[in-house]
Symmetry: C2
Subunit: 315 residues, 2 copies
DNA sequence: CTGTTAGCGCGTTCAC
DNA sequence: GTGAACGCGCTAACAG
């Protein structure tokens, strides 16, 4: 591997000083149009690109951000990451990935390591157990997704709106006895918040609530589907698509039941297996875009720490 | 943010010279036990960690590797990445992620960018269209997964073995008329290779082959499932779990058919939806581990470019 | 407008 | 064994 050429070489090759090359590189003013063009031509010709490490050492930033997902095989998070990556690359930032596995301790450790590495920013997929304290050092260079924390930038999903949207649709379709298959309250957003939104709707519309919060897995959805059924029940809202898959399997095995399912989260898999389900999309892709944009704003322009809520859409 | 302390500070604080600290840092010999301990104590006390950028500038390596997945939402690839990440972190390497979206052009572009960035190594999830030529510059610091290329290190799945294992099992179960629902030959491994393995088995065992290769999606599996059926057919092998999900749905809607499904790839989703399916696991997690180990070996110890094949297991 | 100079934090000779 | 000096590629301050 031949030694890469440096800013000095470019300077020599284009007959100028190093600092002029540096100025051109950073689009600084104070360089005549002619020299700028000449230098740029030489750089292009030799395919020159400055050493990241050297710049990082002078400035502060090594232009690296971290994305901490809860689980690499979480479909929803992947959809968000998918839109994040190009956004980061477009700004010249390298995204490194980590997996928190829903462990607050692991996150604390990872954040520590990232701080020592002098990383520029972090996108963290939140979950129950991450406390504002552990995020404190990152306040100005962190965006948290799926959770909000006071004083931090965040991109959240509209749990409340999603539940309302689904219930309203079911209501319009004539359903008056609607059960709710949910996640335990220990999960703030997908658990408690969605349940509360359901209860609020019931109260407003004189619907008798019927709730079960068995867990997060397909199996739980399958086994506890009947928990939310009364003889009058004609529809059930599932708090997550995973639960909905469980419920869907139960219904498939009981074709006589004719219960309308609704679900927060609508994946291609669900569209294929259960096209009849009414689904609400939380806008993962959009969340990724917004999170990346927000973080870049904070890093490069001290943008204010906004709390963003992604609008829901019905499928 | 207060200015981080440097090797110089540590030197001053422990009453030695910079180079001694440097030696301790790199575990070099030629430092008395006493001073080493003293310096290490100081480093620990102040939580010192050397600047990556500065080291990168001196040596070659910035200790960054890239992982190029085809799609972020590919479950199989995620399982491999999941085991890769800790392996990289354990060696002090930061893994940055990219998505190729099955586009050879994109990969070429990404590899170019990575080369300019002076990245240490790449794990590439292969697919049809990536040519050895574009990988050439990376020969010594690349591991390709799911494809093999002559002269490159690779970690491959045992397509042949998986098909054989499944067919053999079905055969043992008494099935003699077994169809094959596959992926088009344009995909070398999951398409052609698996089909050929099927045909070879049929030939050896006097089974009449019955093949369809409609595509890769669930919908294709669903719509073309009947293509591989004859009145005698009692079992069907699906080349991928995605196809199997499609076929499974078809069977669920036709409970009278009683056809035994078998599939390459066995996910929790499938275990839940279709526990009756005979599945072969390709060993994604193991592949991730091996790939990371192989790459680290190549980078740090010029390990030879091995072509690794992960053994299949039956579920 | 442009070239020169001085470091950034670290690794690497060299002398001591 | 250990420290002082030098330079990596780049940016920032200062001269011209």
């Amino acid at each position: 591997m031949q030694t890469r050429l440096t800013i000095k070489d470019i300077a020599r090759l284009s007959g100028v000083g190093k600092s002029t090359v540096s100025r051109v590189l950073n689009n600084e003013s104070g360089v005549s149009e002619r020299t700028r063009e000449r230098v740029e031509a030489v750089m292009a010709q030799y395919g020159f690109s400055p050493s990241r490490s050297a710049r990082a050492m002078r400035g502060q930033s090594d232009k690296v951000v971290a994305i901490i997902v809860t689980r690499l095989d979480s479909l929803s998070e992947n959809l968000a990451v998918q839109t994040m990556l190009p956004a980061f690359y477009a700004e010249g930032y390298d995204p490194i990935m980590m997996e928190s596995q829903f462990s607050p301790e692991l996150v604390a450790e990872q954040l520590g390591m990232l701080r020592r590495r002098n990383i520029d920013g972090v996108v963290l997929f939140g979950f129950t157990g991450v406390t504002p304290e552990m995020l404190q050092p990152w306040q100005s260079s962190l965006v948290i997704i799926a959770r909000d924390a006071p004083g931090f930038a965040s991109v959240c999903y509209d749990d409340d709106g999603a539940v309302q949207l689904l219930l309203q649709r079911l209501y319009e379709l004539g359903h008056r006895h609607i059960g709710f298959l949910g996640v335990p309250d220990s999960d703030t957003t997908s658990g408690m918040r969605r349940r509360e939104a359901y209860m609020a709707f019931c109260q407003r519309n004189g619907v008798t609530p019927r709730i079960a919060q068995p867990g997060v897995t397909m199996v739980k959805g399958y086994e506890h589907f009947t928990d939310v059924l009364t003889p009058e029940t004609t529809a059930v809202v599932c708090a997550t698509d995973t639960l909905a898959l469980g419920a869907g399997k139960y219904l498939q095995e009981h074709p006589e039941m004719h219960i309308q399912l609704a679900s927060i989260g609508y994946t291609p898999l669900m569209a294929f297996l259960h096209p009849e389900i009414v689904g609400a999309s939380l806008g993962y892709a959009e969340a990724g875009r917004r999170a990346a944009a927000q973080l870049m704003g904070q890093i490069t322009r001290q943008a204010e720490l906004k709390q963003i809520v992604i609008p829901v859409t019905l499928n």
